[in-house]
């Protein structure tokens, strides 16, 4: 791409620097200090006392929950979402614009309403049961299955969109050539189509993994408050104006995740697949 376009990124760099860097530095400062809403500037002192929060068993369990659920959600979204995206590409329906909008349309309704409605039909006595006479989910309200179901079907549209965007321009001639060379349809998919769409999978995974990891509403509602994610803890800390702990957790997660993504780019030999 023309180097002249570099200038287009300048405003965004300034924007990101001001709105991301400054707050992160402020958060790091807050997590080391005793600063809170009712303290005066002269009393501010630095300490490591907040760090014992990181070894609190609830913090570790919450972080583990977030990681496990986010990974599982991303994987399931990848399998099912890829399938749907591929079907959209293959479909004879010419106007893909409509199909994509159709896929993401449920997300335009409020997340709380959607999640509570899922919680509703997952519980023992619910509105659907009163119509059809039986429970389609059994009674999974409050279990990990409920949470996983909610997460997967809430964030899957992100995966479908990203994967489809990558699949969209794959030349059919390539696929034909693969078949001509004697590959089975499955091999053709695995050796030709999938590698070409891998960028979309990566983008989609980021879009599913990150919000799932930091989210709190879906686990809270669908587990009936029994499965705690790290997002729930951060949320609580901020709401109860414990900014020191909230900032500390937020920064630790940021560093952990961005660090992992950065490491991945290092191992990525061609350096072009990720980011």
């Amino acid at each position: 791409m023309n180097k002249e376009f570099k200038v287009l990124a300048k405003p965004y760099m300034v924007w990101l620097s001001v709105l991301v860097f400054v707050p992160i530095i402020a958060m790091i400062f807050i997590s080391f200090s005793n600063l809170n809403s009712s303290i005066s500037v002269s009393e501010i002192a630095l300490s490591l006392s907040h760090f014992k929060l990181l070894w609190e068993s609830s913090t570790i369990i919450a972080f583990r929950n977030s990681l496990i659920f986010a990974s599982a959600t991303t994987f399931i979204c990848f399998v099912l979402g890829y399938f749907i995206a591929y079907e959209i590409k293959l479909s004879k329906f010419k106007n893909k614009f409509i199909l994509l909008t159709f896929v993401i349309l449920p997300m335009w309704s409020n997340l709380i309403l959607r999640t509570e409605s899922l919680a509703n039909i997952m519980s023992e006595n619910n509105i659907l049961k009163s119509i059809i006479g039986f429970n389609i989910f059994g009674n999974i309200s409050g279990t990990w299955m409920a949470v996983l179901f909610g997460l997967v079907f809430t964030y899957m549209p992100f995966m479908i969109l990203s994967v489809y965007t990558a699949l969209e321009k794959i030349d059919y001639a390539l696929e034909e050539a693969a078949l001509d060379l004697g590959l089975t349809p499955f091999k053709k998919f695995w050796k030709v189509v999938f590698p070409l769409s891998f960028k979309g999978v990566v983008t989609g995974s980021i879009m599913v993994f990150l919000p799932t990891l930091a989210g709190f509403a879906i686990p809270k509602i669908l587990s009936r408050g029994r499965i705690v994610f790290i997002g729930n803890i951060i949320e609580n800390k901020f709401i109860y104006t414990n900014y020191n702990h909230g900032a500390l957790l937020a920064v630790v997660i940021l560093i952990f995740i961005l660090g992992s993504i950065f490491l991945l780019t290092k191992f990525d030999k061609e350096g072009e697949t990720l980011l």
Partner: protein
């Protein structure tokens, strides 16, 4: 394909007709199940919206009273208007800016691009409440100069903050796929770089721009925590309103009615659009149909 089969069989082609049949049935079932999964919550909301009773666990009778009632819910109506206003402005701006920012980032050297793309993930990754809080603190600094800044302006700015990354994330892979010779060819023909960008590159990445736009709209329309901290002057959106009501009271089923209407109107709009496109296409030749996304 059918005609070629006999000839390529000799080169190792195997017959998958039977397997294909089973696979195609399996595929159809799976598609239906997944779509049902995606729409399950919407269906339940729709059922709740036509339930005569306000009791969410028992369906008594079909009634459309909650639909008629939407207009009477003044606070709800105001919140809906605010949501549409903020989301449409934010989506248009985010799509436009995000596309050009992505082009700019793509032009950077690989090293600095990786760094900036990492930072680009922060708004997506950070817990909403943290983002909302830090944005508020930053915007507050502007209050010294513009005392009444909080309201529509800050709300749109905050929404841009977390929607632009989604646009960039969608556009970037498409940019990498575009043939670098495309630009060069256009410029060799004497086209100025920015004109080439708009005439050649943008059309090549429009699928990415489009999905970026959808994502931006989706994120913007449903945001609570970031909006809460960055709104002002009574400019509450629908999410803020919904959260605030369930804090002490019950939601009126008119909220479900509105949600259902939003989904239905969009669906009908999409079908209508498709229908009109078909009619138009009937007159044109088949060439256009190779464009996957026609918008």
């Amino acid at each position: 394909m059918e005609n070629n089969r006999a000839s390529i069989k000799d080169y190792g082609y195997r017959d998958f007709t039977k397997l294909n049949k089973i696979y195609s049935i399996f595929k159809k079932v799976l598609v239906v199940l997944i779509v049902l999964g995606l729409y399950l919550s919407i269906i339940v909301i729709a059922i709740q919206s036509i339930n005569e009773s306000r009791n969410l666990s028992i369906f008594t009778n079909i009634s459309f009273q909650w639909y008629a009632n939407i207009l009477q819910e003044e606070e709800l109506m105001q919140a809906i208007k605010n949501t549409f206003l903020v989301s449409s402005i934010a989506t248009v701006l985010a799509t436009f800016l995000g596309t050009f920012f992505a082009v700019g980032l793509y032009a950077l050297s690989k090293k600095s691009r990786v760094l900036w793309m990492l930072l680009n993930n922060v708004p997506i990754l950070n817990a909403d409440i943290v983002t909302g809080f830090s944005l508020m603190l930053m915007f507050r600094l502007l209050m010294v100069v513009f005392p009444n800044i909080f309201g529509l302006f800050t709300l749109v700015m905050a929404h841009l903050f977390f929607t632009i990354p989604y646009v960039i994330l969608s556009v970037m892979p498409k940019l990498k796929e575009t043939d670098p010779n495309l630009m060069d060819a256009a410029m060799d023909l004497g086209v100025k770089p920015y004109k080439a960008l708009i005439k050649v590159v943008i059309p090549a990445i429009k699928a990415g721009i489009f999905s970026g736009m959808l994502l931006a709209l989706t994120m913007s329309i449903d945001d609570f925590a970031i909006s809460y901290f960055n709104t002002g002057a009574g400019f509450d959106n629908l999410s803020i309103w919904i959260y605030a009501v369930i804090g002490r009271r019950n939601l009126t089923p008119s909220v479900y009615a509105f949600s259902t209407l939003l989904t239905l109107f969009t669906l009908v709009g999409l079908l209508l659009y498709q229908f009109l496109q078909r009619q138009k296409k009937g007159k044109k030749d088949e060439k256009n149909s190779f464009n996957n996304i026609s918008s």
